[in-house]
């Protein structure tokens, strides 16, 4: 049982590290926006097609082929 004298403080140290990490994450602003990430993860990543032609034009956006 005396192992508890070591294990519990150790567990508390680990918890303190986790809290420290949380504090760092908050301070670097990663929790500032709580609305966008939950929606962002719903969008499918569409595959990037390398064979696609360059799409930019004078206006910075591509013209549609036909209209």
């Amino acid at each position: 049982m005396s192992v508890l004298f070591v294990v519990i403080p150790l567990a508390l140290v680990i918890a303190a590290v986790a809290v420290g990490a949380f504090v760092w994450v908050v301070r670097t602003g990663q929790f500032d926006d709580l609305d966008s990430p939950p929606v962002r993860m719903l969008f499918d990543d569409d595959p990037v097609r390398p064979d696609e032609p360059a799409r930019a034009s004078v206006d910075g956006v591509t013209p549609r082929a036909s209209r």
């Binding site: 966008s36 930019a56 013209p63 209209r67």
Partner: protein
């Protein structure tokens, strides 16, 4: 030519429901006016802005946006297209203030995007880097509507990115630094850190408490008991004096201000619990309270943070993020006959300079017209919906929109010295200086602290008198203090408010503070603005007497003229009848004319008719007078030399306005109409909606003054939509900004209704009543519980352990009550 090249002339067309077809716009899903139906296209659009945005999105291969939006239940917004080049985004002064360098040679800037409304916008904006060359990434913060753009300066410029954003329907604006926003962010982060620490402490102390509680039955070895108690004390003290310090600070601040705050009894309970617990740990006997205390700190912080997030959400959504006046001006330099014009930032314009205000442009400065004549829409300042004519020597105010031709203006004041600038400064001062509203729970705090202190003294003596030892008496007193901790009372108000705010927000009503509910639940004065609040805020054809066959002709003549009257006449062509008209001519401030099959058809004012030599018969004049008496504007239509029709246009009250006002009166509100419009129109409207008190020609300053007068008598709720209402909204107990309002009024108001009509206002009042009633119920339940527990503690029936268990039970019951707030018509 690319599809995305902006059309040369685009007038934002009215999206009148009265003239709408059953077809929805492919971009914004609003009704498409019948005159705009295009049989050659599969998709239909309500305006040119939407059409251009739709084509741009399609052209970029991002059509999935529409599917996504439908799936996410989002609603589009009509796009007012402008063909500006956003040159001010490349200005060195802009770069210096807003653009930062990033590793790898890229540049980073934040821009505020007007028109962001749902999650599908997030998808669309974050996919733009694939189609805009040089744009490395675009990250959108959905709540604040601020996109962080990262681009390669060698390939593109910010103005080009800005133009691309505008073309897909989001007009970018520079993000003006806001002290309030920074403060909110810092506060939010501080609370999250506190919650994190408090949560970790509470969880770990709870684990240790389980061991201690079960050890009680199994006769745990004393050395383990002592070890666990010391550990609990250590973690508990971290919680109380770390994240829990915020309550101590609140208590000290309130004490310095000699006022009562709910932080005081909380701080007292925390301090007493911590000291008693520590003493018991040291002497090795008696109850330690650290598990309850750590849990209490965590729960209270969580409740406060929830409420704060709702406040911040509303405040972020309606904050004045960009200026109402343009950020650049066209400066005219050189002598007469040899003049050059150039675009300059507004900061460079000085009084005495000459600037040009083009058609459809917003005047950047206050000044006098030196050349040209035009009509201005000054509704932003005056609330008056009708355009005013301005000629040489007349004053022009910054913020007014030029509806006619270009004029040159000699600058009298620029920037903060303009009338709009001064109004904004007053507004900021008013919003800052507003006294914090003492909540119901805080008002209870005083009697509560005194009561608990008196009771604890009574408790010591009562226990001693009952023959208990000193140790036992102190034990009971500590139990009393812990069980009477007002955490249920402290939690009920923020939770009930957060629940109501969240539910209202999902229905389009944004509430910036909990005090709104309390103020709206009480009877008071209701000051209503006319244009845009009680009325649609839009000119429409209300009556047509005379030759109906001329309708399409009139519509065709007026087509393309930006004057509001002309726009509503042009929207009248319901059946999209094609008519051949030759030599269409518009005369500024008078009307327009054209030739149809050899006959001259003219549309315009009586002055125009006189100038053209058209006879206006007495019967026509009588008809016109009758319409004017109803607060309408009259336009004549003539064929050759005689008047063929009389058209009456007006800004009519919203449907159901009278009924809604009746209900509000039933809820204890005394309504009153205060308008910048002329007194006859105001009187007429007040009569229609059934309000006895009214005042016309009220300047923004007068509105604020009137609200101040009424404030002396009791709470005042001010409702409005324009910049001219902003000062009134800010000085009222509760300011409500309505749908479609100017940004300034949103910043000043406590509530923003994003749905049109008076129904949301009525719902807000009902929600306020339900919320305050629920808070009262929670307070009664918590109070009864505290009294009963106190009585049991004094008589010695509650041991400190039982107190520690009972306390969270009371909190949980109150939390459940607060979370279940419902109201009639609420979701």
């Amino acid at each position: 030519m690319t599809v995305l090249a902006a059309p040369a002339t685009v007038a934002p067309e009215s999206v009148g429901s009265a003239t709408g077809s059953a077809v929805g716009c492919a971009h914004c899903s609003l009704d498409v006016p019948k005159g705009r139906l295009d049989p050659d296209r599969e998709e239909q659009f309500c305006c040119a802005g939407c059409e251009a945005a739709y084509d741009a999105i399609r052209a970029c291969g991002l059509d999935e946006y529409y599917t996504l939006r439908e799936r996410l239940g989002g609603q589009g917004e009509p796009v007012a297209l402008d063909n500006t080049r956003f040159v001010e985004f490349d200005d060195p002064s802009f770069t210096e203030r807003h653009v930062k360098g990033a590793p790898g040679g890229a540049l980073v800037a934040d821009v505020y995007l007007q028109g962001v409304h749902c999650a599908a916008c997030l998808w669309l904006i974050e996919r733009l880097p694939r189609v805009v060359e040089g744009l490395v990434s675009a990250d959108l913060d959905l709540r604040r509507r601020i996109a962080t753009l990262r681009w390669d300066p060698a390939v593109t410029s910010l103005s080009q990115i800005a133009a691309a954003l505008a073309r897909v329907g989001y007009t970018p604006h520079p993000v003006e630094p806001s002290a309030a926003r920074d403060a909110r962010r810092a506060e939010d982060r501080a609370y999250l850190v506190r919650i994190g620490v408090a949560g970790a402490c509470a969880g770990n102390v709870m684990l240790l408490a389980f061991a201690l509680y079960s050890g009680r039955f199994d006769a745990m070895d004393p050395i383990w008991t002592a070890f666990f108690r010391w550990l609990s004390a250590g973690i508990g003290l971290v919680s109380v004096f770390g994240p829990g310090r915020v309550f101590m600070r609140g208590a000290v601040t309130a004490m310095r201000a000699r006022s009562w705050h709910l932080d005081m009894p909380i701080a007292l309970a925390l301090a007493v619990g911590a000291v008693a617990g520590l003493i018991n740990v040291i002497r090795g006997g008696g109850e330690i309270y650290f598990d309850s205390l750590a849990m209490l700190v965590f729960l209270l912080l969580l409740g406060r943070w929830l409420q704060m997030t709702q406040h911040a959400r509303a405040a972020d959504a309606v904050e004045l993020l960009f200026s109402v006046t343009p950020r650049r001006a066209t400066l005219v330099e050189g002598d007469a006959g040899d003049e050059t014009t150039r675009e300059v930032a507004i900061d460079a314009v000085r009084p005495g300079d000459l600037v040009e205000v083009g058609p459809q442009c917003c005047a950047p400065v206050d000044g006098l017209i030196e050349r040209g004549a035009t009509s201005f829409d000054e509704s932003i300042l005056t609330g008056e919906s009708r355009p005013v004519e301005r000629a040489i020597g007349d004053e022009v105010a910054a913020g007014a929109v030029n509806l006619g031709s270009a004029v040159r203006v000699r600058v009298a004041a620029a920037g903060r010295d303009t009338r709009v600038g001064k109004l904004m400064a007053t507004l900021e001062g008013l919003s800052r200086g507003r006294a914090p509203v003492l909540g119901q729970a805080d008002r209870l705090a005083g009697p509560f602290v005194i009561g608990v202190l008196v009771l604890s003294v009574v408790c010591v003596f009562a226990r001693l008198a009952a023959g208990a030892g000193m140790e036992h008496a102190i034990e009971s007193t500590v139990a009393l203090l812990v069980v009477c901790c007002p955490c249920a009372i402290a939690l009920s108000t923020p939770l009930a408010c957060a629940v109501a705010m969240g539910r209202l927000a999902s229905r389009g009503t944004l509430v910036k503070g909990g005090h709104v509910f309390e103020a709206l639940a009480r009877p008071g004065r209701l000051v209503l603005d006319k244009t845009g609040t009680l009325t649609e805020g839009r000119f429409e054809v209300r009556a047509w007497s005379g030759d109906v066959s001329l309708k399409p002709v009139v519509a065709a003549i007026e087509h393309g003229c930006p004057h509001p009257i002309a726009r509503s006449l042009a929207a009248m062509n319901d059946e999209a009848v094609q008519v051949e008209i030759a030599d269409i001519e518009h005369r500024l401030g008078l009307g327009g004319l054209g030739w149809v099959q050899g006959a001259r058809v003219a549309v315009g004012s009586s002055r125009f008719m006189r100038e053209l030599g058209v006879a206006v018969s007495e019967s026509v004049q009588a008809e016109a007078a009758a319409q004017r008496a109803r607060g309408r504007t009259v336009v004549y239509v003539s064929r050759d030399a005689e008047v063929a029709a009389v058209v009456a246009l007006g800004d009519e009250p919203r449907p159901g306005a009278a009924a809604a006002i009746d209900r509000m009166r039933a809820l204890g509100m005394t309504p009153e109409v205060l308008s910048g419009d002329d007194p006859t129109t105001t009187e007429r409207l007040a009569e229609i909606v059934g309000v006895e008190t009214f005042e016309g020609h009220a300047s923004p300053e007068r509105k604020a003054e009137r609200v101040g007068e009424l404030m002396a008598e009791g709470p005042v709720v001010a409702v409005g939509d324009g910049v001219n209402d902003a000062a009134a909204l800010a000085s009222a107990t509760v300011g409500i900004a309505v749908h479609g309002g100017a940004e300034a009024s949103l910043a000043a108001a406590d509530v923003y209704l994003s749905k049109p009509g008076l129904a949301p206002m009525l719902e807000l009042m009902r929600a306020s009543r339900a919320t305050t009633a629920r808070i009262r119920l929670c307070l009664i339940v918590a109070g009864t519980y505290n009294v009963a527990a106190a009585a049991l503690a004094i008589t010695g029936y509650i041991s400190p352990v039982l107190a520690a268990v009972l306390m969270p039970v009371s909190s949980a019951s109150v939390v459940a009550l607060a979370a279940a707030t419902r109201w009639k018509g609420g979701a």
